[in-house]
Amino acid sequence: MGNRQEKKISIRNLSDREFFYGHKGCPGCGGSLALRLALKVFGERSYAVVPAGCMSAVGFIFPQMAFTCNAIISTFPGTASMLSGVAAGARALGIKDFHAVGFAGDGGTADIGLQALSGAIDRHEKIIYICYDNEAYMNTGVQKSALTPAGARTATSPVGNRLRGAVTQKKPMFEIVAAHGVDYAATASVGYPLDYLRKLEYASQVDGTSYIHVFTPCPIGWGYETSDTIAVAKNAVDCGLWYLAEFSNGRFTLTHNPSEFISVQDYLLGQSRFRHLQEEDLQGIITMRDLKWSNIHREWFS
């Protein structure tokens, strides 16, 4: 994490206060954990902007509100634009020491919200944008998004005689955001909470736009036991299909550099969304993984 000034955040000194609590999220929800941890880091002077999606669906059902800090649902495409307005409004009113924090899903980020996110990064808005990536449109019943990985079965990328799940690759959001020259970007996983917490803490100190893309498994949509969310989130990193990295000052760095990978097959076939995959599909996914990692090593460490 370079030479930055920071108090070392740990699970031990994490706030006991809850800012996202009593919501109607499913058992084993990775996304709600990502919000809960993030708001513990950002604290009570946060304005949370949450677009249409899982977390708004479970957190704002009148009269039962789950946020104890300020929070607002944005339009589906409008996370980053509303965040920009919140930050500008607070600034203009002379409000100091606050965080404007967005929590958008994968579809709300990589599909319908990408335009507004791009604009906000371009303006270097002082906002923190967190993409909680559960790899499909979950609260509408598991439809494919641009962050659904190749081969995954969803309600709109079915498995049949002609197709075997999603035919597109997961959109490289982290790299797309970095290509804007963003002030800070990171990937994370709820399976590596300390790494995620440190990135949240760093983002809270950035004078500009921060983007954290956190991998948040969904037991309902992915088809695994609700008790396994952390293990699945960890295994995704350990098998090399997800990676923990940062981008700041124009440079990419890995915050976790595995010397060897655990089995991709075990990771994939442990989830019902991938269980139809055939040997050639699995080999194709491994080939793409290896290509990604060779690019990381060549481009980020040159």
Partner: protein
Amino acid sequence: MMLEQKAFLSGNEAVAAGVRLARPHVIAAYPITPQTTVIERLAEMVEDESLKAEYLNVESEHSALSACIGASAVGARTFTATSSQGLLYMAECLHYASGGRFPVVMMNANRSVALPWNIYGDQRDSLSLLDCGWIQAYAENAQESLDLIIQAYAIAEHPDVLTPMMINLDGFVITHTYELVSLPSQEGVDAFLPPFQTVNKMDLDHPMSLAFTAGPAYNQAFKQLQHQAVLSALKVILDTEERFGQLFGRNYSGLIESIHCEDAEFIIVTLGSVAGTVKPVVERLRSLGERVGLVRIRYMRPFPDREIRKALAGAKAVGVLEKDISFGYEGTVFTNVNSALMRSKVIQPRLLNFIGGLGGKDISVADIERLFLRLKSPDDGETVGFI
């Protein structure tokens, strides 16, 4: 009465001048013809610090209004401006701003809607979004545009109203036409328009969840409150105009402007700049002894149904002239006027709907004279017709 300066301004420049006087905290905008000179002037004012505001060059109209909603949600006064396709692209956020009770003020340059592409004025953009919950006003000239912008903040932010407001200017005819305009003093506007205060905001000392979900058990109750709020604007508009008149000496006539309707047999009802073409025709026909009149609708929402009924009570025939059509039926203004009249127990005048000016097609003095002749002729033909 406060001292005022005079300036030679286009409608768009008058709007920008009005916005500066209203001291918004946040301006977010995306360019579209013929709105552009409003946001260009505002950008210059922010640059030279004659307007102290955050100016966001956003990436779309959807984002412009979304950002204004976000700023309003922390208690900031906001402004945006758009036109035509941009207004349509905002449609989701239009409903969002009104449903969330965020009193954003927006100027819309009325312009034709594609297809076919056309940058000139008609009112199909705003009238097709009449149901989005915004207060909608239609200006006749640059002076009224400026005054409406200042009044809009007082109306929209009124605690009984808390509803966003759209000020419509006919594209090019008003937005780009220069007039001598009286500029109220900053001291006067500050006295007229105190800083925005609302409880409907995210406050760091009193955290709140906004823009939430309300299921079937609660949803309609919120919608009823929203309806009541827009109806409340009927009185707030009148009170606001009265205060404005006392301070600045320019008096407006409420939700409609009615000319010679007391004894008129033949009346044209219209809105926007075309009223300026109708007025001299009415005066000339009056000088020839014809009992003709004009109703200029200034507000389409809330709709001035009582005022319309009163103004048209003695008419034999009424023509609703509008730059709009709801394809397959009639003009939206006509639908609203007709509905207002149907609520009265008096004898209905003969009602005709004149559709014209679409995509900037000129409406001339000769056209207006023909429309009055049509109203006087006994015959009939179709109720709805293009001119």
